[in-house]
């Protein structure tokens, strides 16, 4: 049994949480294309899902090398979208966290911010009608800029929290 769900997330950690809630009910992500999630019914809780933004596009050789490295560790690449990858591992094989220290978590959040920030700025500039006078489109640009500002703020807060900890503990 399969089902298709259309949803849009601005925060990848919320998206990841949702995928794991679906997996707990036995709905396992099989594919993802632009907001359309394809799930297949299976054993509840069989997989743990994680989402990661890679440094390079999916067809880059470094990305391929990384995904092969994950495969060795029993981690399957379910889907990809631009530089995002949807990963899963059998829950029976133990816990599944991509990052085990603060530095690599901070680096991942920073990578996401670096990807979102230029897009947010371009949308903001168009939204403020600096380049064009079309007000209908500028509203959409403003909305897009706001949709990106939310996760950027959230990730910045997370980084700040992790960095405070860094003063005390490795």
């Amino acid at each position: 049994m399969k089902k298709r769900v259309i949803r849009f997330f601005t925060n990848y950690d919320k998206e990841e949480q949702w995928l794991n809630e679906m997996a707990a009910q036995g709905w396992h992500l099989m594919d993802y294309v632009w907001g359309r999630y394809l799930f297949q019914k299976g054993k509840p809780g069989e997989y743990i899902y994680r989402i990661q933004l890679l440094e390079n596009p999916i067809d880059h050789k470094d990305s391929a090398a990384y995904l092969e490295f994950l495969e060795e560790a029993g981690i399957e690449t379910v889907a990809s979208s631009l530089r995002w990858v949807y990963l899963r591992k059998k829950a029976a094989e133990g816990p599944f966290e991509l990052f085990s220290d603060r530095e690599s978590r901070i680096a991942h959040y920073q990578r996401i911010i670096l990807m979102l920030l230029p897009l947010a700025i371009v949308n903001l500039l168009f939204g403020l009608r600096i380049f064009s006078d079309d007000s209908a489109i500028s509203v959409l640009n403003l909305a897009a800029a706001a949709a990106m500002a939310i996760p950027i703020t959230r990730y910045r807060k997370k980084i700040a929290k992790l960095e405070r900890e860094r003063l005390i503990r490795e």
Partner: protein, 113 residues
């Protein structure tokens, strides 16, 4: 050794260098460290992959030329890596020595009271 090579190593880097005193591939490092520390240190694959690349760039470890078409890349510690590891071990021993000294003198005070 350059000053930037004298700070404390992260736990992940310490255990990667330790594990690579024998040639291992990425997954082998994860398993080895997990077994040795009885599941206390579980290296995330994202963290490990990033650390391996950085350590290769620094020349502390090197990839081994494996058999042709081999997908599993094996790594091993270099002489430079061994020197860094020894230096870190000496630093850790100093910490433990100082810690125990305080512990002993505290016990001594208590016995006198």
């Amino acid at each position: 050794m350059a000053p930037e090579e004298q700070g404390a190593l992260t736990e992940a880097v310490f255990y990667i260098l330790l594990a690579l005193h024998q040639p291992l591939h990425g997954y082998g490092i994860m398993q080895g460290v997990q077994e040795l520390t009885e599941n206390r240190v579980v290296l995330g694959p994202g963290t490990l992959y990033g650390a391996l690349n950085t350590l290769v760039e620094k020349g502390w470890i090197e990839p081994l030329a494996g058999p042709e078409n081999s997908r599993r890349k094996e790594y091993v510690i270099t002489e430079r890596g061994k020197a860094v590891f020894q230096q870190e071990l000496a630093r850790l021993e100093e910490l433990v020595r100082h810690g125990k000294l305080v512990q002993r003198s505290a016990a001594h005070e208590k016995a006198r009271d």
